[in-house]
């Protein structure tokens, strides 16, 4: 049935597009393509193998994402697809697309900064408020509601907000 869909390149594109509709269950405005979690789609006959990369070591969303990919591919007409995780190269927040960053900001989450600013043990971070864009913000807690987020507060508009930690 799937073979009627078109050439291998077409098929691969359709499989990629289907997998790319899966969203992060904890940040539902971001797809796994926006996040850079979707790494590769390989066709083996009419079976699809999807490679994803884990974000944080203990992120409980990964199991759910893998399951949702299989469901999305079934819906798109691909039978018995497989999802496997690749560890190398390690995922970094630098892989989040520009589109993903824009969506994060619109959702009220400050997008991650470049990873080069991460190393200093007591380094100063400057994070702009996603609501009012003010740079007059302060860190409340480096560990937030999920492993990828820190909790900040804007001193200009007084709104607390999540910051997607650079990783």
């Amino acid at each position: 049935m799937v073979t009627a869909l078109g050439s291998t390149a077409d098929l691969r594109r359709r499989a990629w597009d289907a997998a790319a509709t899966v969203v992060d269950p904890e940040i539902p405005v971001l797809t796994i393509a926006d996040l850079g979690v979707l790494r590769d789609v390989v066709l083996d006959g009419d079976r699809v193998e999807i490679a994803i990369t884990p974000t944080y070591s203990g992120c409980p969303a990964m199991n759910m994402i893998a399951l949702e990919i299989e469901v999305a591919l079934e819906r798109a007409g691909f039978r018995g697809s497989k999802v496997h995780t690749v560890l190398s190269p390690a995922w970094t927040t630098d892989w989040i697309s520009e589109e993903g960053r824009r969506k994060l900001r619109a959702y009220g989450i400050a997008p991650p900064q470049a990873t080069s600013s991460r190393r200093a043990l007591f380094g100063e971070q400057a994070v702009a408020c996603p609501q009012c864009s003010s740079g007059n913000t302060e860190l409340l807690s480096e560990f937030g509601s999920t492993s990828c987020k820190a909790l900040w507060r804007c001193k200009a508009c007084r709104e607390p907000f999540d910051y997607f930690k650079c990783h």
Partner: protein, 258 residues
């Protein structure tokens, strides 16, 4: 019931991965005991987040240990079906949470090492270990910053918090030597470029410790007698109690799945 335990063929590589996996799992479990009990909400989330990172690292390391062994073990069997004497973690990480100072000093001693260790392991010739290191290194940097800030706050805080932090430093110090010990099997992995020699990290580890401890107005003990045994399965009495809780479901209902 001895037959209910997983048997593991501990080649140097399997043992190496297993030791690091056990460190991460046991420390992660200890931190998870704070969930719902931490002194403030932000700290409850912080400790639970760190626990989650560590348990995630443990899963990857167990999966790799099982793959390197090539038998029918997997991450669950290695975590849930080995008894106390089969665990290979550092004595440091199994020490009870005690008060908040003791938990944070334990975390600080470990994170200051893990941060250096994982960064060095990123260039391991073993591509899986290098990939796990690349992820763990980023997480360890956060863990170190978190515990460092607390050590300073507690040490340079009130008389009470200072006394408790100093007591924790004095008590846990003797468990730090084990981080730098290397046996024959590990020596071969170091020569093969798979493992890093932890001895080469000790100077920088001590510098991190001294910087923070000084700022916290605390002092590091002068004595250098170190307690060892965790790496070969000789544990303090605390680990058995911890495992009885961690493994209770699998031990009560063997083979149970969700």
């Amino acid at each position: 019931m001895a037959s209910a335990n997983a048997e593991v063929s501990e080649t140097p590589l399997v043992l190496y991965a297993l030791r690091r996996a056990d460190d991460a799992l046991i420390l992660g479990h200890r931190l998870s005991e704070w969930c719902g009990h931490a002194p403030m909400l932000e700290e409850d989330m912080a400790l639970s987040n760190i626990a989650l990172d560590l348990i995630g690292q443990a899963r990857e390391l167990y999966t790799y240990a099982a793959k390197a062994e090539g038998k029918d073990n997997d991450e669950d069997k290695l975590a849930y079906l080995r008894d106390v004497r089969q665990y290979r973690n550092l004595l440091l990480v199994e020490q009870p949470n005690g008060d908040f100072a003791q938990t944070l000093v334990r975390q600080f001693f470990y994170s200051a090492f893990a941060d250096l260790y994982w960064r060095a392991m990123m260039t391991s010739r073993d591509t899986t270990l290098a990939a796990i290191a690349a992820k763990s290194e980023k997480e360890s940097a956060y863990h170190l910053r978190h515990s460092s800030e607390w050590i300073i706050r507690l040490g340079d805080g009130t008389d009470e918090s200072h006394a408790r932090a100093q007591a924790a430093v004095d008590h846990l110090w003797a468990f730090t030597g084990e981080m730098f010990a290397v046996d024959e099997g590990e020596r071969t992995l170091i020569h093969a470029g798979i493992a890093v020699d932890p001895g080469t990290l000790r100077g920088r580890w001590l510098t991190t410790l001294s910087d923070v401890i000084d700022e916290a107005t605390l002092t590091l003990p002068q004595n250098d007698w170190m307690q060892q045994g965790g790496r070969v399965g000789r544990h303090s009495e605390h680990l058995g109690h911890l495992l009885s809780e961690l493994q209770s479901v699998q031990r009560t209902f063997p083979g149970l799945t969700w």
